[in-house]
């Protein structure tokens, strides 16, 4: 490693990490709302609103990133596909725990879609952090 001070290659980047964390916070909030009321049935609207907002942030993040010129997409996809595999497995295990407990209907759909957002957004954050310095 070169010991002399080197500048960080700064390119204008959209706030992918901040938006990603906000998206994760929304699905976590939705999950806590649902889990806190079990086994009672509660209105799903707050959890659905949080999930939709989270998914919109994910879509916004992808769109913003796709507009960055000269982004290291090769490295992004190289890291992203393995991270996607890893986080799909962990999401699958969490989903399995919910299914094992007989979660069904609307709450199951909300939880499953939340896990989909989680399994997409976390690999994206990892791949972005690696690729921005590539």
């Amino acid at each position: 490693m070169a010991t002399e001070a080197a500048a960080i290659p700064e390119r204008p980047m959209p706030p992918v990490t901040q938006v990603g964390m906000a998206s994760l916070a929304l699905i976590v909030a939705g999950g806590i709302y649902l889990a806190a009321h079990l086994p009672q049935s509660v209105p799903l609207t707050p959890a659905i609103v949080l999930l939709v907002l989270s998914a919109l942030l994910l879509a916004g993040n992808l769109i913003a990133l796709s507009r960055v010129r000269g982004f290291a997409w090769d490295r992004f996809f190289q890291v992203g596909r393995w991270a996607l595999l890893a986080y799909t497995i962990t999401a699958g295990l969490i989903e399995y725990a919910f299914l094992r407990n007989g979660l069904s209907g609307g709450p199951l759909i909300v939880v499953t879609l939340s896990l989909v957002v989680y399994a997409l957004h976390v690999p994206m954050l990892i791949a972005f952090t690696v690729a921005r310095y590539a």
């Binding site: 490693m1 070169a2 010991t3 002399e4 001070a5 080197a6 500048a7 960080i8 290659p9 990490t17 990603g20 964390m21 994760l24 916070a25 976590v28 909030a29 999950g31 806590i32 889990a35 806190a36 009321h37 079990l38 086994p39 009672q40 490295r75 890291v79 393995w82 991270a83 890893a86 497995i89 962990t90 295990l93 969490i94 399995y96 725990a97 919910f98 094992r100 407990n101 989680y118 976390v122 954050l125 990892i126 972005f128 952090t129 690696v130 310095y133 590539a134």
Partner: protein, 207 residues
């Protein structure tokens, strides 16, 4: 007469790091051999959830939860500050040996703790809203949620990115410095949140 030395021919620059640069040991970003114990843990976790008995669920939740708490506390308050003060070669040596292991250990420990904990909560009835300590259970959801957001959004990406930077023929010290700072600070925050987890879990366990 050949008493005067001829100037040497222009040297071909050697491949690899410049002279005086610290050597970076060879390492795997994701240690392949480590995937075997991870697969075993996940398979055992699925079995524990499927059989739905108290002992295996308690074992997974307590053993892996303790590992998660201790690793976060140790990394945040002991190893992190030490790592920040090491010389550059020592820090590289430490990073290339520690971080690839963390890539496998932390997601495994966290997934096992949470999945077994959720199943255990169902088994014992502690996740039901009628449970007398329900407020403490919800507090644990909030603490775990905060930890998950920080770990997944900041710590894990920094962990992997620093390893990719160290794999380059000419790693940028400024990038490594920035990513390591991010890793150490977030590990400290997670350590502080783990103290809250200890308070909550001991309260729930003691009724």
């Amino acid at each position: 007469m050949a008493t005067t030395a001829e100037p040497p021919p222009a040297a071909v620059p050697p491949a690899g790091p410049p002279a005086g640069a610290p050597t970076i040991p060879d390492f795997e970003i994701v240690p392949r051999l480590g995937l075997i114990p991870v697969a075993i843990v996940f398979a055992a976790l699925v079995v524990a959830i499927a059989v739905n008995e108290l002992w295996p669920l308690t074992f997974f939740h307590v053993a892996f939860g303790a590992a998660w708490t201790i690793i976060d506390l140790f990394l945040g308050f002991v190893l992190g500050p030490i790592l920040g003060k090491l010389s550059v070669p020592a820090r590289i040596e430490m990073t290339t040996r520690l971080m690839p292991k963390m890539v496998l250990i932390m997601p495994t420990v966290v997934t096992a703790t949470l999945a077994a904990g959720w199943q255990l909560g169902h088994f014992l009835g502690t996740v039901d809203s009628g449970y007398y300590n329900h407020g403490w259970i919800v507090a644990s959801y909030i603490v775990v949620g905060c930890m998950a957001i920080i770990a997944l959004g900041l710590l894990e990406p920094a962990n992997i990115a620093v390893l990719f930077e160290l794999k380059k023929p000419q790693p940028n010290p400024a990038v490594i410095e920035r990513l390591m700072k991010r890793f150490i600070y977030t590990a400290g925050i997670l350590g502080a949140l783990q103290i809250a987890t200890l308070v909550i879990m001991t309260k729930i366990a003691s009724g």
